[in-house]
Amino acid sequence: MSAKEKLRYERPSIRKMNAGLMNKFGTRTEYAPVTHIDAVPVKRIIDEYGSPCFVISEKTIRKTYQSAQRAFKTRYPKVQFAWSYKTNYLDAVCNVFHQEGSWAEVVSGFEYEKAIRNGVPGNKIIFNGPEKSLAELKRAVENESMIHIDHFDELYDLIEVCDKLNKKAKVAIRVNMDVGVYPLWDRFGFNYESFGAWNAITKIMNTENLELVGLHTHIGTFMLTSNAYAIAAAKLCDLAINIKAKWNKAIQYIDMGGGFASTNTLRGSYLPGNDISPGFDEYAEAITSTILSYDFKQEELPLLILETGRAMIDDAGYLLGTVLANKRLSDGRKAMIMDFGVNILFTAFWYEHKISPAQEFTHHTEDVVMYGPLCMNIDKIRESINLPPLNKGAQVVVHKVGAYNMTQWMQFIAMRPNVVMIDMKNNVHLIRRKETVDTLTSQEEMPSYLKKFKLA
């Protein structure tokens, strides 16, 4: 802080004395303010792009991608990442991943369209998900995309589409299985234990216009144990070995899906996410050592595809916001109202987000309840968070918000804010303009008889 700046007023606070050993630091905390993101001042971003504002660090995306890639590629010779569009499908974000070499993994016709518009070649799009219309299937077949079949009805649809086109489709099946974790995601794909998967494979192998190129599973989300992946990989390898034994057909790829945990702390978790989330290395070790323990011939080792989304992007996203007001609740707890709520920070329902002040403060902190600005009771960002006393207008940085927020956010009460990206050279680019009333009303139609009214 420069010497000229006026000392900031910080109101006094009273804290309950906790019993503990005496130490020379007193009750101070070691929280550090986050005044810059990738060397760009938070204050400057808010001045230019308003508050709240999402910030994405391209540097962090690339760094995370490369460390994931290193973790897998040093353990296994053939690895391919596919960017999970639903995690964050802002075009700029997708293209950073595509520049790094990621394919696209989409779960709807809308996402498929987005991938095509981003310039992803059809044969590098993995088409997942339980909803695929006939028209979408037709397009995917024509583009030679990898179609991951979710259920038998879809399989029959696809056979029909292929017969009409007289074109062979590249398909995989999604397999669900018991990997020893709860909940069991058996609503997607074909079950392994009850032979649904094997039946689907048999059907595909006996259909002329379908070529079984891969096997896919996605065992869950925010998996905190890497062992589950070892079990899943083993079951897919079993299928692949059996397919080779029965039809002498080497499977081209095994798609282990995503579900890797980020370092966010889940609500109700006793330990912070940083300490309990397995890193890429742990997941990679579990998956690759399992596949390598199977007797695939060197030249027939399946390509390992990974669709991890959350762990790739969460760290790269920040949400900048401003304190609207401080107040005290009836039970005496302090409360803080922010200018962002669960409407744009959807993950507040899942995580205890780390939130840092964006300016210098003293070492004294207090517990506060952090609310969003919505006139809705559910709009609570943190039930309890330890923060220094922040005045109205103070700025904060919410960490690790890159995944799902920019796709699951709601236009509810308020509109969605600007999203900016800080590039490798620390230049700030606007990658999604904030919505205006026109953005919303442009989609609305007014029946003529409702156009006029007069209030008495």
């Binding site: 690339r62 760094k63 490369q66 460390s67 290193r70 590629k73 040093t74 353990r75 296994y76 010779p77 053939k78 391919q80 070499g101 070649p121 044969n123 590098k124 081209q252 890193g279 070790e285 390598l292 060197q298 390509l303």
Partner: protein, 722 residues
């Protein structure tokens, strides 16, 4: 079948006929053969007699089922041609002459076989021994044959004066003598005959022609210095001794080089010594020395070359192309290929990208007898080898990462009982830690050390293939932090002295740029990985004996098939143009090693365009190579190049291949490559050819060739399977 055989025989005799003449001047050329026959026929008696002798010899050889390749190449016929010409020059053609001629032909053939048998034991050529002995026998014996009349003079030829008139041309004496010496090889000491031979020789081989002049010129100078009458050189075969010796040693049996040129200058006086010495020895028998001096000198010198322990210069010709130029250019090509072929390709023992933390002659531990080793580690994007906090082995990126077999072989030794060190601690007692040694055969072993305890996936005696997972990286032995030690050695003991050996092929990454290295030694600090092979490229260039390719180019069809020759070299053979292009494919790089045939064919352009193709696809990667003087330039440039090639290569030809586009890295169905071939003198570009090679899922699709302003397209024809 019968008609086919007779057709082959006809071709055999026709070729054998012409080659018999060109072989006299160490050439294998039909047009030169025709020219030489014409020269010999300037005196029709000599000409006809020579022709008949060759014909008889080759027919007898064929009936006797002798090696048809030798017959075709004129190796049996050339002595007969000279003997026959000699008969025609020395005796009158009467009926007895024609009775005797076939017998003489048979005698020459038998002597040829005899000398061939004798000298082949020593891998030496028989040169003109068959001619000398056959002709001496004739000279000695025929004086008893009263029916055979010596040729008194060739007055019978009407245009004698015209022919002899050439001998009086106003040319320097040395040139007249040179040409007459050449003519005397055909028993016609005549400038016109010599001129035809000399001009033909120049067009056949610039190097032979130069050598002939140097050999003769030196002899002329030496004669003057030694006080021998230079007119001696005009006599039958005297001058040709020097000419033959110069061509034989300067460029035919030895790869032409500065050394070979120097040596012929030094050998000229020796030929003179032998000539006059042998002449006096043979005098009591009334035998002329003829080419005995050349024959003895050449044989003895070639014999000397074979006794050398090291061949650093004066390389003997191994595959005889019967042309000093071709011998030289193929030698340059093959000596470049040899540097690749002498090593067993060793791969890097890991997946993905690692960094060389210590290379050969490293300053830390790669010292003395153990200096030719590598240490490898894994780095992150900030070039750190560990993640925070870096206090345990698990924090290090390379720890517990798969270690692969660097080549096929048997597991010779495994040491697996040493615990990993804690970080910063070093176990100097069990220096190598857990190690594995693989026997690659042929006395070559590789050792991998500091592995993780109980991580071995193989046991002693197992056969491992290149790229098989054998263990994981650890921190055992003299290893302060996890790393992989890799060395080549000559025994199966752990900790044996290192052996300097290159890595077969690897990719260096610098930022976003990739560089391919073949048979090279990685340097400290380089980020390297094994080349990733692209399936489409691999399949496209997987040309094995029996593979067929058909092309349509400039309205003509070319059908190619892959064969192996007797040296087990693969080559593409074009039926239409009878053209061959030899290649090697080691699974990482496809490269042409040699070319022979029609340089107007599409195969030649294909040879240029796909001269060296790395079978992996890396955006922005470029492969560079130099052509070994097979690049076609215009005739004048080529002739100048021929003249200077034994000393230095004035004309250089470069090749560059760029990987332009591919639709997918893992399942490629379309790919574009672009190669540029350029010949230049210094910085001046003489000629440039660009080839754009398109591949689709079948393999080759089309090749667009841009040469100057002309663009042509060759399309691959894939016959639909029934």
């Amino acid at each position: 079948m019968r008609s086919l055989n007779s057709r082959i025989n006809l071709a055999l005799h026709f070729d054998g006929f012409l080659y018999s003449y060109s072989q006299i001047f160490f050439a294998r050329s039909k047009w030169y053969g025709v020219l030489l026959i014409l020269a010999s026929c300037i005196n029709p008696y000599i000409g006809i007699s020579g022709l008949l002798a060759v014909l008889f010899t080759n027919i007898i050889a064929n009936i006797s089922s002798l090696n048809s390749i030798f017959i075709r190449e004129g190796l049996y016929g050339f002595s007969a041609a000279m003997v026959g010409m000699g008969m025609g020059a020395f005796f009158e053609m009467n009926s007895f002459f024609f009775v005797l001629l076939p017998i003489v032909a048979l005698l020459t053939l038998l002597l040829t076989l005899g000398f061939q048998g004798l000298f082949n034991k020593y891998h030496l050529p028989y040169l003109s021994f068959p001619f000398l002995f056959a002709f001496w026998i004739i000279l000695l014996s025929t004086k008893y044959f009263t029916q055979l009349h010596p040729m008194i003079s060739n007055n019978i030829i009407g245009y004698k004066d015209f022919i002899n008139g050439f001998n009086n041309l106003a040319l320097p004496e040395i040139i007249i003598t040179f040409l007459r010496s050449l003519g005397s090889v055909f028993f016609q000491s005549n400038v016109l005959v010599g001129l035809i031979i000399a001009v033909g020789l120049f067009f056949y081989s610039r190097i032979s022609f130069t050598l002939a002049i140097i050999g003769f010129g030196c002899a002329y100078v030496f004669y003057s210095i030694a006080g021998i009458n230079t007119r001696d050189l005009n006599e039958l075969f005297v001058g040709s001794n020097y000419i033959f010796m110069a061509i034989a040693i300067g460029g035919f049996f030895v790869i032409p080089s500065t050394f070979s040129y120097v040596i012929i200058v030094l050998l000229v006086p020796m030929v003179a010594l032998l000539h006059y010495g042998m002449g006096d020895i043979l005098l009591p028998f009334h035998l002329p020395a003829y080419t005995i001096a050349f024959t003895i000198t050449t044989l003895l010198f070639l014999y000397l070359l074979k006794w050398r322990f090291a061949v650093n210069y004066l390389h003997p010709v191994v595959v005889q192309y019967s042309s000093p130029e071709k011998n030289l250019y193929h030698f340059l090509a093959s000596s470049k290929n040899y540097q690749y072929s002498k090593y067993y390709p060793i791969s890097l023992p890991f997946w993905s990208e690692w960094m060389v933390s210590q290379a050969h002659d490293g300053k830390i531990t790669h010292l003395g007898d153990w200096s030719k080793a590598f240490d490898f580690i894994v780095l992150d994007d900030e070039l750190k080898s560990y993640q925070h906090p870096g206090v345990s082995v698990d924090d290090f990126y390379c720890y517990n990462k798969p270690v692969l077999a660097p080549g096929d072989g048997y597991v010779a030794t495994i040491a697996d009982n040493i615990e990993d060190n804690i970080i910063t601690d070093v176990n100097t007692k069990e220096n190598w830690g857990n190690s594995i040694v693989i026997n690659h055969g042929l006395g070559l072993y590789s050792q991998l050390s500091h592995l993780k305890k109980e991580s071995f996936k193989v046991k002693v005696g197992d056969y491992v293939k290149r790229g098989d997972l054998i263990a994981t990286c650890g921190n055992s032995g003299r290893s302060p932090e996890p790393h992989l030690h890799f060395q080549m050695q000559l025994t199966p003991q752990v900790g044996e002295k290192t052996y300097n050996y290159p890595i077969g092929s690897y990719i260096i990454r610098k930022e976003k740029n990739y560089e391919l290295k073949t048979f090279d030694i990685p340097k400290e600090g380089e980020l390297i990985c094994n080349p990733e092979i692209n399936v489409l490229l691999k399949n496209t260039f997987n040309l094995i004996p029996g593979s067929k390719l058909n092309w349509e180019w400039q309205g003509k069809k070319e059908s190619w098939e892959v064969f192996t020759d007797s040296w087990n070299q693969l080559y593409i053979y074009c039926k239409e143009n009878k053209t061959c292009a030899w290649f090697v494919n080691d699974g990482v790089v496809f490269r042409f090693t040699d070319f022979e045939g029609d340089k107007k064919s599409f195969l030649y352009h294909f040879y240029l365009g796909c001269y060296k193709v790395f079978l992996g696809y890396y955006m922005n990667l470029s492969v560079e190579e130099n052509y070994a003087l097979t690049f076609k330039n215009n005739l004048v440039v080529e002739y100048i190049q021929d003249l200077t090639a034994p000393f230095f290569q004035a004309v250089k030809a470069d090749y560059q291949l760029k990987y332009m586009d591919a639709d997918s890295l893992n399942y490629t169905t379309k790919m574009e490559l672009e190669s540029t071939s350029r010949s230049k003198v210094g910085a001046m570009v003489l000629k440039e050819i660009q080839c754009r090679i398109s591949l689709d899922s079948n393999g080759f699709k089309e090749i667009i060739i841009k040469e100057g302003n002309k663009t042509t397209t060759a399309k691959a024809i894939w016959l639909k399977e029934l």
